[in-house]
């Protein structure tokens, strides 16, 4: 899966499932603030990632993900490892 496809897939479920306005999705924007995520939302983010990319995120991994770009890089890295 190319980086471009990963970004498109992530943005797709953020818009569709998390109802994020496309206009707020910027690589440098803060993920938690843009998505207004609470602790319950992270559970659903884990579900979406597993469903779209086939791997399970450890909840503690989110502590190092701050921006959308961090999120893309994290997923790309995991997909690459697989």
């Amino acid at each position: 899966m190319s980086t471009e496809e990963i970004v498109k897939t992530i943005n797709g479920f953020l818009v569709e499932e998390f109802e994020v306005e496309e206009s707020v999705i910027e690589p440098s924007a803060n993920l938690k603030e843009s998505l207004e995520l609470d602790s319950l939302d992270y559970v659903d983010l884990v579900v979406e990632i597993e469903s779209n990319f086939g791997f399970k995120v450890k909840p503690e991994d989110f502590s190092d993900i701050h921006t959308f770009q961090d999120f893309y890089d994290y997923v790309a890295n995991k997909v690459g490892q697989n």
């Binding site: 109802e19 609470d38 559970v43 659903d44 579900v47 597993e50 399970k56």
Partner: protein
């Protein structure tokens, strides 16, 4: 003691998605029963069910508000939204005034089954998702609505089988009457998917007249062969007369009496004595004579034993020349946890619009029940006082007496 009145109703059922549609169905004897092909695929004995559409909630609720709602909670939200508008209550009112919620619900099978399926497939609990726990608990409707509406009064689910909705109104009535609350959102919700109905279907309790679904539910008719499961939600907002008048809210009716009893008998087989005690208690509480009741919305679900027992209980309580009787379940099927609330709403719609809804599909009643005044066709007649019966598994009984408001 406070007088207790009803200031808002909402219905989301197989008869319509709002009061106006439901009134049309009730007046014209239109059935909401159809066939669910999925039930046949899963080996059901009967595929008959009330057909309830899935509401579109995105225009009203955000993702976090929707994710914890089970299907019956979605129906309950729609019904409550309608009742709030009628009662002139909104989120700002809930912020500034104490309003409670007591809603009837007694299962949430689909989320539990979906979660178990996910766990078995994924072997990971996180992958069940965040909404499942809030959809799966029996109190799913009250926990979600209380959160969405930011309610600050009593917050509790009433589980009493097919009398849940009726008891929710009855218990709310007591709290208001004794001054412990001023306003409570009461009601009943019922899931309708096949997940929730398999074990009930297994008891051979459902009608198998699949060749003509709208004729299958025939309460009190000699040829009835069982009930048809159905669902949706209905909300009945109750408040003290003082509160309603202070707010200038519309007053749809006054609750005069609530009777209840337990059969102390079989878990599923009805008896006559239990309902008689419930009926007599409601009448005594209301201060009315039996002859004052003009209409009874019967519990009658179209099962051979249940309708006969209820009919006998009505005859024993009201004698010959008793009130007019119909079972709206002839059109809705059995709305179970919701039925006690929806049937109060249906009866209020009738009382406001000067008609009594028909007990459709009645050709010939049981020989023992020929003295009951069952309405086979819509009766256009003003009336002021009705009684609504609800009975459930375990022998739980509830009867409510409601009168058109008189200052």
């Amino acid at each position: 003691m406070n007088r207790v009145v009803i200031t808002g109703i909402g219905v989301y059922s197989c008869l319509g998605s709002n009061i106006s549609e439901v009134e049309h169905s009730l007046k014209n004897g239109i059935s909401g029963i159809g066939i669910d092909p999925e039930r046949k695929e899963h080996g059901f004995r009967s595929a008959l069910t009330g057909i309830v559409p899935t509401p579109e909630l995105k225009p009203f609720l955000n993702r976090r508000q929707r994710v914890g709602l089970a299907p019956q909670g979605e129906y309950a939200y729609m019904a409550t939204k309608e009742a709030m508008e009628m009662s002139k209550m909104d989120l700002d009112f809930f912020e500034k005034n104490e309003v409670g919620i007591l809603y009837g619900n007694d299962s949430s099978a689909k989320p539990v089954i979906d979660a178990t399926d996910a766990l078995r497939a994924k072997k990971d609990t996180t992958l069940i998702g965040s909404g499942s726990i809030f959809q799966s608990m029996n109190s799913t409707v009250t926990m979600n609505l209380a959160t969405i509406l930011k309610l600050k009064g009593i917050n509790m689910t009433i589980s009493a089988a097919c009398a849940s909705g009726s008891h929710s109104i009855g218990m709310g009535y007591f709290l208001l009457k004794h001054g412990m609350q001023e306003r409570i959102i009461c009601g009943g919700a019922q899931e309708v998917s096949y997940h929730s109905m398999g074990s009930f279907d297994g008891l051979s309790t459902f009608s198998i007249r699949e060749d003509d679904p709208t004729k299958a539910s025939r309460p009190f008719d000699k040829s009835r062969d069982g009930l048809i499961p159905s669902g949706g939600a209905s909300t009945v907002i109750i408040e003290t007369l003082e509160s309603a008048q202070r707010r200038g809210a519309p007053i749809l009716g006054e609750i005069l009496g609530y009777g209840f009893s337990s059969n102390g008998d079989h878990i599923s087989h009805p008896n006559v004595e239990g309902p008689v005690r419930s009926l007599k208690m409601a009448l005594k509480e209301s201060g009315l004579r039996a002859s004052d009741i003009q209409y009874i919305n019967a519990h009658a679900t179209s099962t051979p034993a249940g309708d006969l027992s209820e009919g006998k209980a009505i005859l024993e309580t009201f004698g010959n020349d008793g009130p007019f009787v119909s079972s709206t379940k002839s059109m809705t099927g059995h709305e179970m946890w919701m039925a006690g609330a929806s049937e109060v709403a249906y009866s209020l719609i009738m009382m406001q619009n000067g008609f009594m809804a028909p007990n459709i599909n009645l050709v010939e009643p049981d020989d023992e029940l020929k003295r009951l005044n069952i309405i086979a066709d819509t009766r256009y007649q003003d009336f002021d006082i009705f009684l609504s019966n609800s009975f459930g598994f375990g022998g739980t009984n509830s009867s409510l007496v409601i009168r058109k408001f008189k200052a």
